[in-house]
Assembly symmetry: C2
Homo-oligomer: 211 residues x 2
Amino acid sequence: MVWKGVSDAVIRRLPLYLRVLEEVKGKESSISSHELGEEAGVRPALVRKDLAWFGEFGKQGVGYDVEFLQDALRKILHLEEPIHMALVGVGSLGHALARYNRRRFLEDPVFTIEPVALFDVNPKLVGGTLDGIPIYSLEEIKRVVPEEAIQLAIITVPADAAQKVCDALVEAGVKAILNFAPVQLEAPKDVHVANTDLSLELQRLAYYIGV
Amino acid sequence: MVWKGVSDAVIRRLPLYLRVLEEVKGKESSISSHELGEEAGVRPALVRKDLAWFGEFGKQGVGYDVEFLQDALRKILHLEEPIHMALVGVGSLGHALARYNRRRFLEDPVFTIEPVALFDVNPKLVGGTLDGIPIYSLEEIKRVVPEEAIQLAIITVPADAAQKVCDALVEAGVKAILNFAPVQLEAPKDVHVANTDLSLELQRLAYYIGV
């Protein structure tokens, strides 16, 4: 289910709240918007406004039931069931991200996103594995994505290869993409593409150096 | 110089504009807000509004002078002179990011952010180099940051070590930090901390799967 009218800015904060709830779970049974906001780095009024989009979770004077809100947020974010993820481009960055996410999945019981397939053009890598995750050729995206029920993908290929990879992933049924290639990708409206461009991020930070 | 009243959302788009200008430079001498917006993925009206914060760059019916605007944006973002960067935490992700940024700096003449120092706790790494970048111990942050005139830093240490690293960097004079550790860092107001939490990003994207 995708909720109508909810902006991406709201969605961005939900995993932050979820992380706070996971930390206090077992220690506290309820949490105030003030405490939740403090830990998440969000104003309490905004916490209440964000959560109100999805229902009436809070009780005046009591706050939010930690376990109930956690379950609700996991449901809203589709994190109740494991999500299968692919990563395309096993270069230096792709390699690190695959290992990072694999370890995260294995060690953190609440992190349910599992990298199940890697794709690369390098014939020396194809057919092998990385931390137990099989590496396929790009041509196999079409077959492996539906077979493994992959819904989420990370793109870490060079800029000039990224759009073609994006097209192949979308055609195979991937619904959300995290793109590390320094290029704006085009995708159909029902596919969500998020860009994480480290160079742009660093260039932006340079502004704050204020030399 | 830091411009008054300019929001971070505006600053975030400037590197996007800069990238478009770098691509058209030499091919076109002027560019319209429409074309600039199209390539950057930003509405033309917003392009004009963003740039108006910093001066009158556009000419009615002609658009923006490509070279002039490029120089102005590089100046606003403090990218005229090389910026020295450190990276703390040479694990799997830190290793990949150091190499990625090093290559970017060497290969892309307009990318002026240079990784000049790495820091880690691992005695097997300390004293060595990675792609020619020296690796120091965390204790050496205090000495090396001012010596190398480092202003920007990437943190890729585990969550429980990140705040201590952040404090050491700030004390040594770093003005902007890109944090990959899954934790909210506290820093003085004049230091800008940007968080890039891949787990949060993936959990947010899971929302859009819409199962």
